[in-house]
Amino acid sequence: MATTAPESRPRRPPTRGLLGGASVPDAAFRAVALAFGALVLALIAAMVAVMVQGSVHAIQRFGLGFLSGTLWSPNDRIFGALPFIYGTVVSSLLALLIATPIGLGVAIFLVEMAPHHVSNAISVLVELLAAIPSVLLGLWGIFVMVPFLQRTVEPALQAVFPGVPLFEGAPYGVGLLAAGLILAIMIVPTIVAISRDVMATVPVAQREAMLALGATPWETTRRAVLPYATSGILGAVVLGLGRALGETMAVTMVIGNRPVISPSLLEPSYTMASVLANEFTDATYDLYVSALIEIGLVLFGITILMNVAARLLVRRTARVSGRGER
């Protein structure tokens, strides 16, 4: 039986994809799932709106001077956020300075050196560390780490670096150093997990080519793995920084909570998240509340930027090493 050619009557080819061809219940189900997805986006939009709305009062009153003001005195209705910004940035950078080499070292150990089962076991341990609630780290920080810093580490630092402004002042235990250390403990897992994943995407063939040339394992890592993973590792570090900037409880418990700007790491300080934790429920008048929300808005903005930057960097590595994120 010969087939009849339909060319004589051209018509629109029925080119419905899944969406076009979906029947009513399928379309309804899609719509429901879409609505819930949209709800998540709406939630984020609402968060931005709430924070901006809440800050308007303080922004109108203080303008940019809010960010550069060094005096925070709610009793006098004077609100300068610089001490908190300073404390946040310094404690986070200190944490990064400690956590980056350690985190990267662990990731290299896990991906390049350790036998499979050791690597798995340590990955699990490090991820469990990430799961410990920050209030528990703070508890340990107050009762174990701070006294240890005060009695042992800080006097030793002062003895080794006499007169260095970084280590001046009475050793309180609480302060920027304590905050930086506790933050470092908290962000090491982030840096390890992401750089490990990024390094694992480097093709085995790259490593083998390097080894075959007579390179030592370290040379292979340095020449064949790290260059591929650079932007992803950078992403891991930025993500860790974002986490450190926004961390609240553990820092609040060990930083000393004093809104001063001092070059010494041993002095008490204050962070943006900590002042929110401590003063938000005590804020007795609108301007005070608004000033606090503006601090929250600044923190929100910075951490979102950090997150966006970090995820773009990690995604770029995934693309470069040819294993796209789906």
Partner: protein, 285 residues
Amino acid sequence: MDRTGARPPEALLEAAAPARGAAVAAPAASAVRIDSLGAWYGARKAIEGISLAIAPRTVTAVIGPSGCGKSTLIRCVDRLHEVTPGARVEGRVHVGDVDIYAPGTDPVAVRSMVGMVFQKPNPFPTMSVYENVAAGPRLRGSRIPRGALDDLVERNLRRAALWDEVKDKLGRPGADLSGGQQQRLCIARALATDPAVLLMDEPCSALDPISTYRIEELMRELAGDVTIVIVTHNMQQASRVSEWTAFVLAGDDGIGRLVEFDATEQLFTKPADPRTEAYITGRFG
């Protein structure tokens, strides 16, 4: 609860029937009639200008080198091709006298009257042997009394020549069966929706020779009441099981076209096209 899902597919197909118009009524003589079929994956065209008429209650083999688009071809007959993002289809396909790409036709209804068996056995992992066979009617929302469902499961496991092996483990997960048994379970699952046409996409490629033999035997038995189209890269298999064979070949442009369609014996012994001869004598592919 959704009512449409419970509607028998025939109702939808009847609703779609007038849209096709009397002038293009397909001859009832063919179980499947493909007219100038083309299919795309995004911007890439996979097959082009394929026309075929498949007689009812026969076994038709589609052969050709890998990548020639033979799987795409039969996926178009089940409206499964379009499930791939970016995929589209041109041309017309009739199953029985239903124009399955007519604008009013529900792809879900088409899929319920065409059965499909895939390359790798894919029983539903969360379901038992029994539930796998009953999955089609059940998930489509049919309210079948327990007794009738038991009968349906037994009948189709028997049709798939699996009943004796699994009658004592109907409650066990389908994934616990051996590979060959899993594939026969998938055949039973497809048969349980009572399809007019059963499409098989290289159903034996993941199986051992003994399981392959059993499935080939099964196909010959089933051909009594179902029209079977099997895609295979194995020419011996095609000549063993089929009455008709279609040879599909991708040109230099990578687009698959039908080279030859004839009675299996004719095609393998006196191919009309030199490319067919080259393929069956092993000169390429």
